[in-house]
Symmetry: D2
Subunit: 335 residues, 4 copies
């Protein structure tokens, strides 16, 4: 950590600060310039409160050299984490993982039908929302416990592991049969929930917040891991920009960046990111081409009820075509 002092700092003030820093078990290297004094802090600086330090009257600026995240940091864990959930491997070479299913669980027929269809096309895991985060209190909020039971039935019927979103720890006990718990984008910085999940041994898929950067995403992963739960999967699902033709902007460059910074797997959700089913295949192929560890794709099988045709959902037939193309792209980029 580099700390630059303001020009007019007295020797007494400087020594007072250095004293305080050394009490926190970091070594301080002083570099006096003609205009500025620079303190180089070495040692375990992760517990230094950077905001507090930057707020001192005598400090001009503070800059971290080493990242504040440790458990998810690739530096201290060079090999890819391979996370198992319901017998499926996520992360690492040649474990490309496809999660597919409807936005919401609606009926037994729907969820089992989609589950069977996506399994036939090669999906590894079934998704389906039972608790739905909605901007409006007047919108459909999901089937809740009943939805979870239907998901379990689909799991039993097809053998696919299941992933679904948890919105409040009070419902945690209902998720016993769930293989992967999803933390939604709006809860990425619900720190109390992250801490509580860190004390469980469930596999967590952590979605990036709509306006959060990658450091913040990794700090939220760190919250879970600091509690002892290392089963964390990261998910890019689009960020908020000024573009309106897509619901959000899929930040695919986060895939190679996250692979540099962390050993955790990185999954891409092109359905929520774009919000339009006709954009999903292109972005799914791009995600595969740039090295993502998997995809989360919305699929519905509702030809009779066209009114519920989710704008961002593929039909099973479209999904089947996409899976074939993805396999070709994965083959093409194999080293």
């Amino acid at each position: 950590m580099i700390t630059v002092l303001k020009p007019n700092v007295t020797a007494e003030q400087r020594d007072h600060l250095i004293d305080w820093l050394e009490k926190q078990k970091v070594q301080v290297h002083i570099s006096e310039g003609s205009e500025y004094t620079v303190l180089g802090l070495v040692g375990d600086t992760a517990h230094i409160d950077m905001d507090l330090l930057a707020s001192l009257d005598i400090v001009q600026s503070v800059k971290r050299v080493s990242e504040p995240f440790k458990k998810c940091n690739r530096k201290f864990h060079p090999d890819d984490s391979v996370i198992e959930a319901g017998g499926v491997k996520i992360g690492g070479k040649n474990n490309f993982c496809v999660i597919a299913g409807p936005c919401s669980v609606e009926t037994r027929e729907q969820i089992i039908g989609v589950a069977q269809a996506v399994k036939d096309s090669g999906a590894d895991i079934l998704r389906g929302g039972a608790f739905k985060p909605r901007t409006s209190p007047y919108d459909f909020q999901g089937l809740h416990g009943e939805g979870l039971l239907l998901l379990s039935e689909a799991k039993k019927a097809t053998g696919l592991p299941i992933i679904t979103e948890l919105m409040d720890m009070k419902d945690f006990d209902l998720f016993e049969d769930v293989d992967i718990i999803q933390v939604g984008a709006r809860n990425m910085q619900n720190f109390e929930m992250l801490k509580a999940l860190g004390r469980t041994d469930k596999t967590i898929l952590l979605k990036r917040g709509l306006a959060n950067n990658l450091k913040e995403l990794l700090m939220s992963a760190e919250y879970i891991m600091a509690g002892g739960n290392n089963n964390v999967i990261l998910c890019e699902r689009g960020i908020r920009t000024f573009e309106t033709h897509t619901r959000n902007t899929l930040d695919l460059s986060c895939v190679p960046v996250l692979h540099q910074l962390t050993h955790l797997p990185v999954i891409v959700d092109p359905s929520h990111a774009t919000g339009h089913s006709d954009l999903v295949p292109s972005m799914a192929l791009a995600a595969a081409a740039c090295g993502a560890d998997g995809l989360m794709v919305e699929v519905h099988n509702d030809p009779m009820h066209a009114l519920c045709d989710g704008a961002q959902s593929l039909t099973p037939a479209q999904f089947d075509t996409l899976m074939k193309q993805i396999r070709k792209v994965l083959e093409a980029i194999k080293e």
Copy 2:
């Protein structure tokens, strides 16, 4: 609600949709153009799932004409809401309310000392964090229950009502003596928490999320009010932009905009928005000048312990000077 159909929609598809809409108790006015068909939906459209409608294959676009929020909407409640908390009135003409206090509760001496100081300068309510949302799991997370007890002591000692942040409903019972519960920016769309707070009768100060727009802020207020709790205060605390000289960008134009859209009071927090104490007075005066219903300002009294000098906190002396200037500005804009 205006729904534009795609050019190639058949009469059968159109009638199918109209049928579905009318079943949801809205009237449909059809306007056929040479290129497009426009459906005007009239009636109680708040419960129509706009995303679902927009996602239909035959729909080009959907636009709300009336706002989807009802209980916080000024149209249905033209008079300013005046909310009472601990005997203090917030909202309405001539009730400018100043909330002041330290970022975190640290010690009995600190919190009682600051409470007395800000009361002497004219503050109406005491703030102080006991549960602190921090980006890093390794940063100081607050004194929790002990902090709440110290806040209560300061309340008893000075008579000032108190406001502090709640991060998880599991801690709610500890907040009995708290007059206003703060929902932090990162929890603005923690919908389960909003619902739970809606079932209480506590006064809630709802902070705008770092990348949320005003419609989303009002929908979150609506979540609380839909549960029956109308005691909601809105708080602007800066939004994320590309500017780095300030921690966030204070969006003061939200004050007159919110006053048009809603009857709820609007408080401005210049301390968190700017992150620098030397910018706080200017922005506090600007907030008063543009019609805010009050301010939330960080103040500390820690001359002996300069290391905890929060970059964004005013000293009691600076706060006292600011209070005098604010009174002059309030007088100047009085009609």
Copy 3:
């Protein structure tokens, strides 16, 4: 174009507005609701000043149904535009075009060396900056006319067409030998320059501005085409977001979106978008996988002068490897 009137509009005001609209040669369809009146405008609405209309006291909101861009609109020109520059085809099926070269032209040896290297690896067009837009007036601004002469020499030596940026029409005459003129991101809305280029017959590569949406990009293309010059190539080079690990955020979903909206070719520049050479190959492959019409990639050959090792430039060897991978991905996505 849909115009929603405010609830309290009188019949006289409404008729006054309709009268004014009809004088501008658009037909008006009236749809009276119980709360709102909706006017559907049909005909040539491209010349209606939407901002002006929205600004009227009696108007609640205005929404375009048809896009305001015409000449670049795929609706009126369903086939892909294939643009030729220096014998190279850009756009259309199976014309994937690779533009490569150094950020700045530095010396004869450098530019001819890189040109030969990228040609050998399969590049189609040589890039190199002679006029450099720099945020600071004290930074290197390019070799100007001398740089253009060196580019011409490299063109003669290798047969590769050349592309370089124009920053001011006063320098236009120097660009006679240049095959494609680049309009930089910061000049995307330099409307006078766009108009002037519209009166030439040069091929223009128009880069998207750092905070511009796709509609604005297409309106800027429309500025050039409205003047009679249809030789326009669009280029995505990253947009400004809150992420800091990459210089900008490459918005790859713009590729399929632009292909829906326009017939113009879409090129992707992963070098400027990411700012880091180690991220360029992943994003180049992703761009190829999602259907881009080509790439613009920075390559330098400066092993002796490591200090000028542009963070975002590939070495010729890295570029050669990338070209082989790109060919495999292009093969994989072939229908």
Copy 4:
């Protein structure tokens, strides 16, 4: 300037870099840590190409300690710049300057009428657009030379100095009678135009770009001043955010920040920022309260032609009321 080297850098590489830096006339202070080496660069670092330095393979990160702008930097020019234009002083204590007038010059009657009205209410300078930057090539682009002549007539009739926007240096000669040349937000980084204006002695009002930060704004001012023209006024006119109730988001905290960073005057334009006349008074008062050096406000006098009622323009009567309130607020904040 602080440069942090990567952990694995050899002594030879380090010395090579130091050698290169010292040749550029900066002194280098080395601070060796156990993990990182930090180089502190002292001296005239403004001409060091920070991007180039950061791009070197051996460099981890670079951070400027001193700002890269010099001529507009308050450190080297502690007193406020007071700029005179047409006899009016802008900047410095007690020179609050109000610029008012219509968005576009339309007719002789209009511009002279508005000029007389705003003068009577206390405006100091007349604004009016003759060259209009429009997103669409099909929108009204202004009266050009004819508009400038009408502005001159209004100047002669009222004695008010005039300000209007220049979009291309080819039109510069037409601006002889113009007292202040406005550089629009979309041209803030049209570096060639800034350089050309730097070689003139015209007073320039430089508008902040829609997605530019304050450092970039100051670097653009530096472009003008580096050419020898010190008559630069900065103007905040709103930045692009995710909020849609206002056209842009007025960043008022930039006023005290810019006053810290630079000696140049800072003017606020609430009309373009908000896009709604009913928000203009609140934001104008807020701008006055936080210390802006003046305002630029749109006013029209077009009661007969309600259709041209610009959404963001005040009527002369509204402007007159606003001027009275502003005077009260200015009085209230006087020290």
